[in-house]
Amino acid sequence: MIYFDNVSKIYNDGRSAALQEVTFQVAPKEFVSIVGHSGAGKTTLLKMIIAEDKPTGGQVFYESLDVHQIPRAKLSHYRRKIGTVFQDFKLLPNKTAYENVAFAMEANGRTDEEISLNVPQALALVDLEDKIWNFPHELSGGEKQRVAIARAIVNQPDIIIADEPTGNLDPIATYEIVQILRKINELGTTVIMTTHNKGVIDEIERRVITMDGGRIVRDDSKGKYIL
């Protein structure tokens, strides 16, 4: 459902290449982990999928749609099909957990009935029923990430993009987040996650793409963390 065709990204200074001729595809319902050192090009790869950054060569397809040919006005429609989770959570600081999740649905033009039904469900799925009226600064890192995941899944996207979702979390919170992502994947959503946490990879036991210097150096269907 995601197809990278010979994608390169070279930054303006002309020397540093974040991605070099990357070609791979992701099938529906897969759980793909992308590993690599800092600067290996993991985050750039994810930015290509959500059209936050443009490649300097090659194409990225979402099903049959060339992602970087989408006109700016239509971009918000495209992004609603993808749930995103980030290392720094990216919650709206002036909105409660409930409002943060509801915002994604409001932006999507869902009805009030759908919102009042689905938001508590999504927050229940990430075990946060008791903190729905708390603001982000009143939540722990793990709780914030769970709000972010609830927001990412509430519109029932086809795919979840998670950029270092456990990067800022302690081992227990990391374990919880990984379990939640696995649960979401088992419910039928494709998950693409970057990480450099060995324990997480070994725990998941699914496909692992290893990157180095902007290139894919390994692609194992039931991988371990090897670097």
Binding site: A73, Y78, T84, K90, L92, A104, E106, A107
Partner: protein, 307 residues
Amino acid sequence: MITTAIRRIIRSGFIGFWRNAYVSLASIFTLTVALFVIGSTMFIDQLLTTSMTTLQAKVDINVYFVPEAPQEEIDRLYSAVKAMPEVEFVHYTSREDALTDYRSENQNNEIAMQALESLDDNPLGANLAIQATDPIHYEKISKFFEEQKGNESPQTPVIDKVSYLDNKDAIDTLSSIINAIEKASFVVMSVLLIAAVLITFNTIRLAIYTAREEISIMRLVGASNMFIRGPFMLQGTMYGLLAGLLAVISFYPIMLWLGPRTEEFFEFNLLTYYLENIFYIFFVLAGIGIVLGLVSSILAVARYLRT
């Protein structure tokens, strides 16, 4: 669908306004200062225009006739000047009226009264007070009387003197002073106005700068540009409206103090003007405030909606 979006934008705008109370307050106060400057320009302009008009209304030409002037000559000049299109108003004072006026003006001045008693006849001549539709016409009216005077035979004079030339210098000086004040105040106010607009724009831009992270998150979640921009536009509008209200209110104590003083000096009571036009002033200031707030918000958010 559209109404739901609008309802959500409005609710989100109000919540944002309230939860960022400190930032909102700072923007409102800055905008209030800007509107206060704009309001002051309006008042000063009104004051100068009105005092100019009052001053011009005071200007007139007085034509004094010699006491022996024949009544038919006076009547002829009276109707001639009255027929001129440039003339707004002519007031005729007969010899008897002039004497009565003189008496009442000088009733406490014994020397003047004694001097008057010692004369057999009424020493005062009749006169005409003429007001033109526009001050520029005085030159012409005065010339008309000068010509009439020149045509008289020296044995039977009619016109004693025409006062225009005496007043002219004083009038010209006053007009040029008022013009100079108007020009100077225009320059000063323009500078203040530009400063006020820039400060407002910058404050709102800073307020939105603090929200740039939020804007980028909203984009990632898939919010459309209008859905992101809407609440900020509403907040900008609210800043303008509230600042307009605050500016109008803050003028009240100043007018209360200034009113009687302007009454004394300019014969124009600013307090009365303020109270009579309070809704007009509010609409103008709030209108400018809303435009300023709205445009600043749109421009500030636009920076983060690009790419």
